[in-house]
Each structure stands twice: as structure tokens, then as C-alpha cells.
């Protein structure tokens, strides 16, 4: 079972590394979207500082959202998903492997580059670590919850925007707490509460979302 997890993870990572441009894509999208704001809104440091946590979080959320379709769509279309469902291993494990791979390929890079963007957007130094931690706790939830949405819309062609309609509402609490944590940290206050909330949500998502995803996949696979 662990082996199945590992093999699937390895396959997805290998596939991603095979088309290297794709690997960098969510990251580049993230950077591009964040940098649209100084251009579109204002280059003034004071304003950017206020906007920064929100803008960075929204951009992270959007770039995870956009990369979600690599989670199951392709597998559905070429029939690999059928094969996964016919695997003797529990589907939940396989789902977890795919979600983990997705996070490694999108969430993690965002977490790693975020401090740099934070600095560019004048996030105070003492809030940078909060930025990292909030993203570290929040992005896996985005992948996990996103997986439910993707598995529900996998059979819908051009489901891209339907997907956002379905999962953006579910993302909003995470967004509010994540951005708020950074905001509060910029004011030099304690953010234990927000981070604990994010951690709790993460724990909940890890235990429930893969199950819901597996159920959803069994439902939509019935074509």
C-alpha cells in the first residue's frame, strides 16, 4: 500500500519533470500575477505594504486553482484514471499520492518563493516567517480541497471555470485566515490563533478530503 503510494507519487513527479516548462509554470504565474498589482494599482510602498498579504495570498490561491486540472483531468481523458480505479489498492491512498505530488509541484514552490515576493512588496521582515508558515499550512489544504472539486468536474469538458465556481467558495475561509495572519504579523501582534486554525483545517482536510475525492471519482468515472 505504501508502495502504491510511492510509485504513483514517483510517476507523477517524473511526468512533471519530463516537461520541464510545466514544472515552473505555477511559480511563474504566481510571480506574474503578484507583479501585476504594483503595475495596475500603485507602485507606492505604503499602499503595497497594506495590500501585500492579501495580494500574495490571492495570487497563490489562483495559481493553485489553475494548476488543479493537472491533478486528474489528463488521467481521466487518457483512461489512466480507469486503471487507477481498477487497482487492487485503496483509492484513497492513490488519491493522497496524487494530491501530495500536486502539492510538491505547485504549493511547495510557492512557499519557497513567497519570502522574496514578500520583500518586493514591502512586507515587514517580522511578518515574512508568518507568510511562509501560513502558506505552508494553507497550500496543502488548497490542493486537498481542490482535489474534490476536480474529481467532481473531471467529466465536464471545459470545466475550468466551473471548477473555480465550485471551489473558490470553499477556499475563502483559508484565504481570510491566511492573509489575516500575515496582516496581523505585520502589525507585530501574535498570530498563534490564525496559525492554529490553519493547522486544524489542514488536519481536517487531510483526513476527510481524500475520502470525499475517492467517492467523487467513483461517481464521475461511471461514464
Amino acid at each position: 500500500m505504501l508502495k502504491a503510494f510511492y510509485h504513483l507519487l514517483a510517476r507523477d513527479l517524473r511526468l512533471a519533470f519530463r516537461s520541464r516548462h510545466e514544472l515552473a509554470n505555477p511559480l511563474i504565474f504566481f510571480v506574474l500575477v503578484v507583479s501585476l498589482f504594483p503595475l495596475a494599482v500603485t507602485p507606492s510602498a505604503d499602499l503595497l505594504m497594506v495590500m501585500a498579504p492579501g495580494v500574495i495570498w490571492v495570487s497563490a490561491l489562483l495559481s493553485v486553482l489553475l494548476s488543479l486540472d493537472r491533478l486528474f483531468k489528463q488521467d481521466y481523458e487518457d483512461g489512466s484514471l480507469d486503471q487507477l480505479m481498477l487497482s487492487p489498492n485503496p483509492l484513497v491512498i492513490l488519491v493522497l499520492a496524487k494530491v501530495f505530488a500536486h502539492w510538491l509541484l505547485t504549493g511547495l514552490p510557492l512557499v519557497l518563493i513567497a519570502p522574496l515576493l514578500g520583500m518586493f512588496m514591502y512586507v515587514p521582515d517580522e511578518a515574512i516567517s508568518t507568510l511562509i508558515f501560513s502558506l505552508l499550512l494553507g497550500t496543502p489544504v488548497l490542493s486537498l480541497v481542490g482535489a474534490i472539486g476536480v474529481s467532481l468536474t473531471v467529466a465536464v469538458n471545459r470545466g475550468g471555470v466551473l471548477l473555480s465556481l465550485i471551489i473558490l467558495p470553499l477556499y475563502i475561509p483559508i484565504l481570510i485566515f491566511g492573509a489575516n495572519a500575515v496582516d496581523v504579523a505585520s502589525d507585530g501582534m501574535s498570530v498563534r490563533g490564525q496559525l492554529l486554525f490553519l493547522a486544524a483545517v489542514l488536519a481536517l482536510a487531510i483526513s476527510l478530503a481524500p475520502l470525499a475525492t475517492a467517492v467523487a471519482l467513483r461517481i464521475t468515472a461511471s461514464r
Binding site: 474534490i148 467532481l152 468536474t153 467529466a155 465536464v156 470545466g159 466551473l162 465556481l165 465550485i166 473558490l168 467558495p169 470553499l170 475563502i172 475561509p173 470525499a212 467517492v215 467523487a216 461517481i219 464521475t220 461511471s222 461514464r223
Partner: protein, 249 residues
């Protein structure tokens, strides 16, 4: 015993049986909804006194609060019946869920619009980005998401199950809406009516409000049955009994 109950549930939830029973129930719901609605409007518009602080504008409450309550109530009904449909494979439950969504979306829409119409005189702006307002907006999008998913999956069974799962996942939003006023310090009214101990409200205002709330529930009951009957007809269109029934219409 359990078997008998189960058998009874199955029999009642058979679309054919539901169709005939609901046909008899709808007029009752409709009539009492009209009666209570008219009575509530009369009480609210003519009898209830003017509010000290808000003047006459508070009369929006008789629309706004019942609509806001219904928006949440219907979502819960929808999610619960979707869950029943998902777990016990009862088709009727799926139909109730599907029939509820548009009604819920309408109520949500009304709550949003009346709320913002009320907000202009009270807060000076149609819209503020406070937690309750935002989460109500999210609720509207959850309804839209449910309906969009339902209509974009061709196979009816798959559509029911998939959108049902979504409805269940979306239930997390309901407590957020309800408690948001307490969690975040917001402009929006805290619990004034639904406080358990002692509602902080004039009785002459409270009564029409409650009457309107009940009328809204009855209205929902009537409409959801009509919609569910449509679903039954459509989904069972190949059964003999539907054909015979339609021939007669």
C-alpha cells in the same frame, strides 16, 4: 421492526407514491402559506409600530430576515437530502435536493438584495465587506455551483451524486454564516431574534416576523413539492404509470 420502517420508507419514497401524496399536500401548504403571508404582511406593515432608531426602514426586516433564514435552512435541507440520496440510494431524496437549489438561490438573492437595500439607510452604503454579508454571498455561489454541476453532467445519476457530494462539502459554510457576527466584529446586527432567552425586540414586531418566517417555510414546502413532482415526471418518463398519467392530462 426496523425492516418494517425501512419498507415503509421505501414505499413512501417510491416516486409514484410520492407523486400522488404530494399532489394532495401541495394545496394545504399553499393555502396556509398565503393565509399566513397575508396576515404577516398586514401585521408587519400596518400594525407593527415604528422603530425608535430606524424609523420605517426597519420594515424591510419582514422580508430580509425570513429570506436570510430560509437561505440557510434550504441549504441544510438540500445537503441532508443529498446525503440521504448518496448513502441510501433513494432517488426521491436526490430529487428533493435538486428541486431545492433554485428556491434556495432565490431566497439567498432576496436576502442579499434586501439586506443591501437596508444597508444604505443604516450604514450609508449598499454593500460593506463584512463577514456575514460575504458568507451570504458565498452561499449564493454554493447554490450556483450546485446547480451548475447538476446541469453540466449529462448522466442524471452521476449528476445527482456529484452535486450531492458538493452540497455536503459546502455545509461548512452554514455555521460560518451564523457565527460570523460573533467571531468577527461586524456592522451587521447580532442575534436579536434568535437569542434563546429573551428576544430583544418588541412583541408587535416579533410576531409578524415569526409569522412571515413560517409563511416562507410553507411556501418553500409547496414549491419544492411542485418542483420535485416535475422531476419525478421527467425522470420516470419511461415508466408506464407516468405515460398513462400524462396521456390523461
Amino acid at each position: 421492526m426496523f425492516k418494517r420502517i425501512w419498507g415503509w420508507i421505501q414505499r413512501f419514497s417510491s416516486p409514484k407514491h410520492f407523486y400522488s401524496i404530494s399532489g394532495k399536500m401541495i394545496p394545504w401548504f399553499a393555502i396556509s402559506a398565503i393565509f399566513l403571508g397575508v396576515y404577516g404582511l398586514y401585521m408587519g406593515l400596518f400594525v407593527a409600530p415604528t422603530d425608535y432608531q430606524q424609523g420605517e426602514s426597519y420594515r424591510i426586516i419582514f422580508i430580509h430576515v425570513p429570506a436570510a433564514w430560509m437561505s440557510m435552512f434550504i441549504y441544510v435541507v438540500m445537503a441532508v437530502s443529498a446525503g440521504i440520496g448518496l448513502i441510501w440510494q433513494i432517488k426521491l431524496a436526490d430529487m428533493i435536493a435538486a428541486a431545492s437549489a433554485p428556491i434556495g438561490a432565490w431566497f439567498t438573492f432576496i436576502a442579499l438584495v434586501t439586506g443591501s437595500l437596508w444597508g444604505k439607510p443604516m450604514w450609508g452604503a449598499y454593500w460593506v465587506w463584512d463577514a456575514r454579508l460575504t458568507s451570504e454571498l458565498i452561499l449564493l455561489f454554493l447554490y450556483f455551483g450546485y446547480m451548475a454541476l447538476q446541469s453540466s453532467i449529462e448522466d442524471q445519476r452521476t449528476a445527482d451524486k456529484a452535486s450531492g457530494l458538493l452540497a455536503i462539502v459546502g455545509v461548512v459554510n452554514i455555521p460560518i454564516i451564523h457565527y460570523s457576527v460573533q467571531w468577527w466584529n461586524t456592522l451587521h446586527q447580532g442575534a436579536t431574534v434568535s437569542k434563546l432567552d429573551k428576544p430583544s425586540m418588541h412583541v408587535d414586531m416579533l410576531i409578524p416576523l415569526l409569522v412571515m418566517a413560517i409563511a416562507a417555510k410553507l411556501f418553500y414546502a409547496a414549491i419544492v413539492l411542485v418542483r420535485a413532482r416535475n422531476q419525478v415526471l421527467y425522470r420516470e418518463r419511461n415508466r408506464q404509470w407516468v405515460r398513462e398519467l400524462v396521456e390523461k392530462l
